[in-house]
């Protein structure tokens, strides 16, 4: 019983309960106090009064900043996920079809960067994309461009950063899926007269659906709420909701609005999260 | 009432000098509506089981996969809890006794050897749990290593052993605590065919030399017949028949048993004459009547089935004498399998009858070949009347 009890209570206390508190505080009002918000419940003169401030949520709708930040987060996360899929699928496929002896080595090569610091890997791109950075220096020297390209602090840099940082999350589930793919299916398709690209389109791709979903969700969901990448590589007009939440909290010290932003973000992500979770359990049942 | 009994004496262990008939029970399971293993929720996995197992015998539960035989084994080991019923071993109710306190040990289908322990440690594990003194453990482990011929390999790890060696270790490990009951779950399933035949005899010899009561589960009828002193045929959670291999094969009590063990030709028919020493059955599929040399309990007019094993039929090109027990047909198919040839003969009614003939001579083709018109016949004692 303690085996269930300890992790259950820990997770309940430090994971589920906090969300309830975020939900509660999203209905509070900002106040000059410690902590900087008002209480929801007040008990005075035998009266329990509940003050629910829906202003934070209305504010999210009224102020164009939030809505466009949500939309642009979704757009950028989706775009980056698609790019990561384009880059990652051939990679995963190539590894899965490599000689079994070097497969693990190749896989290690994909995972290894993930074990080094996320922050430092994003930092590396600053030096590469800067106006006087490596790419510009190279292109200038080769005479391809006359004036340096503006790449750092743009949406482009954010896309590059997300694809770069989350590529292992895309490749790993795809690889796990593709390596299980029985080659005799492909041989059967070829034997029945399908050209390689048709075999890929009608056999390999549908069979790897599970890996595509898992990989895409693993990139998409954290990318929507990403903070470090837009903060370091994005520009002042790069709108991403993670960054907005961070600034609301740390710069404006408006905890109630930050909570409301978090709840809205959670609602936005709950569908892909559930989908991912359902998919994972399904995979586990099947295997 | 559904009982599994483990009688103190009986079986085929003459070394023990025990009488074949005994009323002392070693263990017993009892249930009302049947045992419902918890795992299967609403499905009744084991139902209506009534069984007597004698001390020292090797009892095989035989059935297709999903028939409930493994559940029955796991009930005995204590991994499944009967929703309804009672398990008694050596006079002790097992209901509230955890698997780790039962006097029962099991050899698993996958052998389940502990991968991080060597052969000796694997065998010693059970004794260690009982806090047996170290010197005693060593002595017992040496004994068992000797018994299963694994003395030289005592410090190998499971992955360093071949399939047969692993099985020996698994057997030694489950015998280490001298259980009152040894359970074998599909003991040969993890071995290839050649090794299987050798290990069947070896495992039986070891079990008999130890004299432990043993219940095994298998879907392989040859394995059951080679290893067991008695067989219980299971289907859909029910025990259809129990008996010696000979009895189950030669005197099946229902069509399912007859068909599951070996091959059989069954003819449906109606009783037209029934007396103490014989019965005559009208079999429309044969256009002829069947004569069986013993009486049955059913009355005239009862619909029944007659089963005849393929090897108990003779095949000939000339019509046999006598009016009963033969059929005419055309050879449809001949399968040459080495020692035997199997003939598929199609009767006028369209039924296919299988007949096996031993290939006693070396002729490439027998006397009888495709499309020959042949006559099949059998002795009155060869057929079995089945009522369900």
């Amino acid at each position: 019983m303690t085996v269930i009890g300890i992790p259950f209570i820990w997770l309940l206390l430090f994971l589920v309960f906090p969300f309830a508190i975020v939900f509660k505080i999203s209905f509070a009002e900002m106040a000059i106090a410690r902590p900087p918000f008002t209480e929801l419940f007040a008990y005075a003169e035998e009266k329990l009064s509940v003050m629910l401030n829906v202003g934070n949520y209305l504010f999210l709708f009224k102020d164009k900043l939030y809505l466009s930040a949500y939309l642009s987060s979704l757009k950028m996360a989706a775009g980056a996920t698609f790019l990561a899929l384009l880059v990652g699928y051939p990679l995963a496929y190539g590894i899965a079809r490599a000689h079994p002896g070097i497969r693990n080595l190749l896989l290690l090569g994909i995972v290894l960067p993930y074990w080094t610091s996320f922050l430092l890997r994003i930092y590396a791109w600053i030096g590469i994309l800067k106006t006087n950075g490596l790419i510009n220096n190279l292109l200038l020297k080769l005479g391809i461009i006359d004036t340096p390209l503006h790449m750092l602090h743009t949406d482009f840099a954010v896309y590059v950063g997300i694809v770069y940082a989350y590529l292992p999350f895309m490749v790993l589930p795809l690889y796990t899926n593709l390596v299980k793919l029985d080659e005799s299916y492909l041989e059967a398709a070829a034997d029945l007269g399908a050209k390689p690209w048709k075999t890929f389109l009608f056999v390999t791709l549908p069979l790897s659906k599970g890996g595509i979903i898992a990989g895409s969700m693993l990139v998409f969901i954290p990318a929507v709420g990403e903070f470090v990448i837009p903060a370091l590589l994005g520009g002042p007009d790069t709108l991403m909701i993670g960054k907005v939440l961070w600034e609301e909290f740390f710069n404006n010290r408006d905890w109630p609005v930050a909570s409301a932003v978090a709840i809205a973000m959670l609602l936005l992500l709950i569908i892909p999260m559930m989908w991912f979770h359902k998919h994972q359990t399904q995979e586990m049942v099947e295997s | 009432m559904h009982i599994i009994n483990f009688d103190r004496a009986g079986g085929r262990s003459p070394a023990m000098g025990a009488p074949y008939e005994s009323t002392r029970n070693n263990a017993r399971i009892r249930g009302g509506r049947g045992f419902r293993a918890k795992k299967f929720d609403a499905i009744t996995a084991v139902d209506n089981v009534d069984l007597n197992i004698k001390k020292g015998e090797v009892f095989a539960l035989l059935g297709a996969s999903g028939c409930g035989k493994t559940t029955l084994l796991r009930l005995l080991a204590g991994f499944e809890i009967p929703t309804d019923g009672q398990i008694v071993i050596d006079g002790e109710d097992m209901q509230s006794i955890q698997p780790y306190n039962r006097p029962v040990n099991m050899m698993f289908q996958s052998y389940a050897l502990f991968p991080h322990m060597n052969v000796s440690k694997n065998i010693a594990f059970g004794l260690k749990q009982d806090r047996v003194p170290r010197a005693k453990i060593k002595q017992r482990v040496d004994e068992l290593l000797e018994l299963v011929h694994m003395k030289e390999l005592f410090n190998r790890f499971p992955h360093q052993l071949s399939g047969g060696q692993r099985q020996r270790v698994a057997l030694a490990r489950s015998l280490a605590k001298s259980p009152k009951l040894l359970l074998l779950d599909e003991p040969m399933a993890a071995l290839d065919k050649k090794l299987r035949e050798q290990m069947q005899l070896e495992v039986v010899n070891i079990i008999e030399s130890v004299g432990v009561t043993c219940v095994m589960v298998t879907h392989d009828q040859e394995e059951a017949m080679t290893m067991a002193t008695r067989i219980g045929v299971m289907h859909d959670g029910k025990l259809l028949q129990t008996g010696t291999p000979h009895k189950v094969y030669e005197y099946p009590n229902c069509r399912r048993t007859a068909e599951f063990i070996g091959t059989v030709n069954t003819f449906s028919g109606t009783v037209i004459e029934n007396s103490a020493d014989h019965v005559i059955i009208d079999a429309p599929e044969l256009n002829r009547e069947i004569y069986v040399d013993h009486g049955i309990s059913g009355s005239v007019g009862t619909d029944i089935w007659v089963a005849v094993r393929p090897e108990k039929m003779t095949i000939d090109t000339t019509p046999p004498s006598g009016e009963y027990n033969h059929a005419r047909g055309v050879v449809e198919e001949i399968a040459y399998v080495g020692g035997l040839s199997i003939y598929h003969v199609k009767t006028q009614s369209g039924m296919i009858i299988r007949v096996t003939l031993a290939n006693v001579d070396r002729l490439a083709e027998g006397r009888i070949t495709w499309d020959d018109e042949v006559y099949l016949s059998w002795q009155p004692g060869a057929a079995v009347v089945l009522t369900w």
């Binding site: 190539g94 079809r97 430092l120 950075g133 590529l167 969901i221 | 749990q129 280490a176």
Partner: protein, 281 residues
């Protein structure tokens, strides 16, 4: 799958892919030895940034804090994760199973800003109501890190337990070992490599975390990523390159070591299995 008829295009793509993954890291390392303060213009070889890094007291304090935090978090997360993995893989469908499975997967996909904010609000509220935890610092950092790292460990352990033959545990029980003994004598030794992997994963995650830490750290405690982040925001510095080089060196040494070890044991094992197969029974 075997290596039958692989398109050369695929090999080119693999090459490009690995270049994409490793070029930034290699560049980072190269420029850590740059004489110039400009991280992108080569001005000769020098190790001076390493000396500067080792003299940066703030950086060293932050690194020391991060290391201690990571050690403590990884250990607790490994223990908690093993328990959670056991619940997931061995306890079947008890009441609340779905909630539990959901709680385990949530930190894996939850945006860090949300996790961080919710943790902070929890600590603040708890302090207000029960007076604990008193302020924010190492303790709150530890709780937060254990929580999200445990989820990752649990995933590793769950999948290891699921692929383990359950009859090995049943066999131990059958031979007289009560459940706790089965766990300590059989299950734990067998899954130990996975526990070690989970611990390492938790260690790196904790060492690397910026967002959650920033929320729950409070003014007193600054972890290494927080320090790096604030200095990077002020502009690139070769000192950070030097730090990155050390991190990369450390990680690759660990990975190469673990890789060689795994490769060796695997080869040894294969060899022994083949030898066993040749043995006659």
């Amino acid at each position: 799958m075997s290596a039958t008829r692989r398109s050369p295009l695929l090999s080119v793509w693999l090459l490009l892919g690995y270049t994409f993954l490793y070029a930034p890291i290699v560049i980072l390392i190269i420029f850590s030895f740059n004489e110039s303060k400009l991280v992108t213009v080569w001005a000769g070889f020098s190790t001076k940034w390493y000396w500067e890094l080792f003299q940066d007291r703030q950086m060293l304090t932050a690194a020391w804090l991060s290391l201690r935090l990571a050690l403590m978090s990884a250990t607790a997360a490994a223990a908690l994760g093993v328990l959670a993995g056991l619940v997931m893989a061995r306890f079947g469908r008890f009441r609340g199973h779905n909630l539990f499975a959901g709680m385990i997967t949530a930190p894996l996909v939850m945006p860090e800003v949300i996790t961080g904010l919710s943790m902070l609000l929890l600590f603040v509220s708890m302090e207000k109501v029960i007076g604990w935890p008193d302020g924010r610092g190492l303790l709150t950092l530890w709780i937060a890190h254990v929580t999200f790292c445990a989820a990752f460990v649990a995933v590793v352990i769950t999948s290891r337990l699921r692929e383990m033959d359950e009859s090995i545990e049943e066999a131990a029980m059958d031979l007289g070992a009560p459940p706790f003994k089965v766990f300590t004598a059989i299950t734990l030794p067998i899954i130990m490599p996975a526990v070690a992997a989970g611990w390492l994963l938790a260690f790196t995650l904790s060492l690397d975390d910026l967002v959650i830490s920033s929320f729950v750290a409070g003014p007193g405690a600054t972890t290494l990523p927080m320090k790096v982040f604030s200095s990077v925001r002020l502009g690139a510095s070769p000192k950070i390159n030097a730090l990155a080089t050390i991190v990369v060196l450390f990680v690759s040494l660990c990975a190469v070591g673990a890789g060689i070890l795994m490769f060796r044991t695997e080869r040894q094992r294969k060899f022994e299995i083949q030898a066993a197969m040749r043995d006659t029974d």
